[in-house]
């Protein structure tokens, strides 16, 4: 009961001096905002990368042959980078090498892609789209599901038809009212008849799938490609995880032989798996999670010092009130408790604002960038506990000073 009284009093105090309270809380607000915003983003990415991203981008039990590593892990070796930059382009004939080397593979898919400034239908347009020329197996390896219409078939590929399966964002933008099926979208100076729409993915991968247009590889090769027969990725999906390593080994061997590499020479191509991504992510994650507590503590310590000063000021401003309360029967611990409650309420308000702003920022990032943002309850609890902790810690000394005041002297003060 007396705690509510204290909290009510503290809130009154805060409300009476909104601007001053806000400035005194800036430190705590920034600290907690930062904590929440970064944590939500890191956590969101974490969940995403672990549960969806790796599997979705690379597919389950899938490895990909690319010209050079897209994701660097560990130390970034400049010489290694320069060496990989000289790797030859992948070409259609490399696909044949891979197919021949891995007859047991479930699927071998290949693709090339190119980004365009916009895709149009009539007066509707969608900025920044990626056109992927994919073999018919591409959708299977990626696990992209069709929402509407149909996917690409071997016939589309053989005949080099100008047909397209479009991502959900593109469908929404270009065809807000009508069905996209059988209409023609325009991209890169070409028109493609829409035959299907992919299921919406949302989140991080949204930009990969939802803003993509998939057309047959042969069509892409004939119309939009910058390099004749150029391939960006060759993906190999095997049946079970145990087959990954042996299959990768034979594919690696076959490519080396095909390119005539001597045993002393390094690969002039790169085999990529979802593990690359996960370990890269783990490195970033570890750094972030190690840095956050430090950064947050600094602003919370600063915030705490500010609150302590504000409370000391408040104690001297309200000396007379303290004297009065004592004359009316407040014990030392009542005064101590009152000012501790006030300090904690103050910083709690700060951390609640911080949580709100942090969640707001995270939500903004979630909307405006491909990063997903989620937060789990333990982090919110931590933020609240930290806010409380700052309040109690920085309130102890001022509250102690208040509780020690002599009632008569306090009453006599102006």
């Amino acid at each position: 009961m007396r705690m509510w009284e204290g909290i009510r009093l503290a809130l009154q105090q805060i409300w009476a001096q909104k601007l001053k309270s806000f400035f005194s809380l800036v430190g705590v607000i920034i600290g907690i905002t930062f904590l929440i915003a970064v944590i939500t983003i890191v956590e969101g990415m974490n969940t995403y990368v672990r549960e969806d991203f790796a599997g979705s981008l690379f597919g389950v039990n899938t490895f990909t042959v690319v010209r050079r590593a897209q994701i660097q892990t560990g130390r970034v070796d400049q010489a290694e980078r320069r060496r990989q930059a000289r790797n030859p382009d992948l070409l259609l004939r490399d696909v044949d090498v891979v197919v021949d080397a891995a007859p047991n593979a479930l699927h071998v898919a290949y693709s090339a892609d190119r980004s365009f400034g916009e895709a149009r239908y009539g007066s509707n347009s969608r900025r920044n789209v990626r056109v992927i020329g994919g073999s018919p197996e591409y959708q299977l390896v990626q696990g992209w599901k069709i929402e509407d219409g149909r996917g690409l078939t071997p016939i589309d590929e053989q005949r080099g038809l100008k047909v397209a399966v479009i991502g959900s964002q593109i469908a929404e933008r270009l065809f807000p009212t009508t069905s996209p099926i059988d209409n023609r979208v325009r991209v890169g100076g070409q028109r493609f008849r829409v035959i299907g729409v992919f299921e919406k993915q949302g989140g991080f991968i949204g930009n990969v799938r939802d803003a993509s247009i998939l057309i047959p590889f042969s069509t892409f090769n004939a119309t939009l490609s910058r390099r004749r027969n150029g391939v960006d990725e060759i993906s190999v999906k095997v049946e079970v995880e145990d087959l990954m390593e042996p299959t990768m080994a034979v594919v690696e061997g076959a490519l080396r032989r095909n390119r005539g590499l001597r045993p002393t020479e390094e690969n002039d191509f790169h085999l990529q798996t979802s593990n690359d991504l996960l370990s890269a992510w783990n490195t970033i994650n570890t750094i972030l999670l190690a840095a956050i507590p430090g950064l947050v503590s600094v602003s919370l310590v600063v915030g705490g010092i500010v609150i302590m000063n504000i409370m000391l000021l408040s104690v001297s401003d309200r000396t007379r009130e303290i004297g009065l309360r004592k004359s009316l029967g407040a014990k030392r611990r009542d005064i101590l408790f009152q000012f501790l409650t006030e300090a904690s309420t103050l910083s709690m308000v700060g951390s609640l604002i911080g949580i709100a702003v942090g969640l707001g920022l995270a939500d903004l990032v979630d909307r405006l960038s491909p990063l997903p943002a989620t937060i789990s309850v333990p982090w919110l609890v931590l933020a609240i506990v930290m806010g409380m902790g700052v309040g109690v810690t920085s309130g102890i000394y001022p509250a102690y000073r208040a509780s020690k005041l002599d009632p008569i002297e306090a009453l006599r003060s102006e």
């Binding site: 007396r2 009154q12 009065l324 004359s327 009316l328 029967g329 014990k331 030392r332 008569i408």
Partner: protein
């Protein structure tokens, strides 16, 4: 009603000294007073004679340098801080010259304060605080903040606050010092009705016509009792006259 002859306050050889460098100020220099239940006593004396010091000792806000003080059969000097706070809360009701209300709190909340420290629950607190405000005829001003009240009304809120915990004594140090004479009379009426209802009251004042409301006037000079039952010169009618030693 209790036995009116029973002493509620007894002090013996009460001293309060302030050491100021080489000098020692003897604010109280051996004071013996006895105040009985339901007495209405005024304390008068020149400025600096120790009136407020005595009130603070009686009110357990301060402890004497020397001497004994028995309040309601309880030896006060043996009590620790918390017990003194409890006595201030339960046994004493203070009324100050400057009202000392919390400026941002309503009249009702100001009156509730002592009850908060008595650990009374919110519902009961409000009930008792509003009853106390009714007693000082402020039942219709409960939600007003001090700056929305006149000086007399503020002092009545302070009196309600002093009464709300049903104390053994009400201590008022120059309760009309900041009020004009007609408002002072209004406050005196409140004190008189409290006294009539059985309340023990000790009041410090500089004004004879205020003191004339009391049953007995104690005069202090230089930290000593000059008279336990002084005559009030009735020919001095005007308020604001300072006390002079005859």
């Amino acid at each position: 009603m209790q036995n009116t002859n029973e002493a509620i306050i007894t002090t013996h050889n009460l001293h309060k000294h302030y050491v100021m460098g080489a000098e020692t100020v003897r604010a109280l220099n051996g004071v013996d007073v006895e105040i009985r239940r339901n007495e209405y006593v005024a304390i008068m004396g020149p400025s600096g004679s120790g009136k407020s010091t005595l009130m603070n000792l009686i009110g357990c806000l301060d402890s004497p340098t020397e001497g004994e003080y028995v309040l309601n059969g309880q030896e006060v000097q043996v009590l620790d801080d918390d017990e003194l706070a409890r006595i201030r809360n339960r046994e004493i009701g203070f009324v100050f010259q400057t009202f000392n209300l919390l400026p941002r709190a309503t009249a009702l909340h100001n009156v509730e304060l002592p009850l908060i420290y008595a650990g009374v629950r919110s519902k009961e607190r409000q009930r008792r605080a509003s009853a106390a405000l009714e007693r000082v005829a402020l039942g219709d001003r409960m939600d007003h903040k001090p700056n929305e009240l006149s000086g007399g009304q503020r002092q009545r809120v302070a009196i309600a606050r002093a009464l709300v915990n049903d104390p053994s004594i009400v201590l008022a140090d120059e309760p009309t010092g900041n009020l004009d004479s007609s408002t002072s009379e209004e406050i005196m009426d409140v004190f008189e009705s409290l006294h009539a209802a059985g309340q023990t009251i000790i009041m410090v004042t500089h004004e004879f016509d205020i003191a004339s409301h009391a049953q007995r006037v104690i005069t202090l000079v230089d930290g000593k009792i000059a008279s336990h039952n002084a005559e009030i010169p009735t020919f001095v009618g005007a308020a604001g006259h300072d006390f002079h030693i005859p």
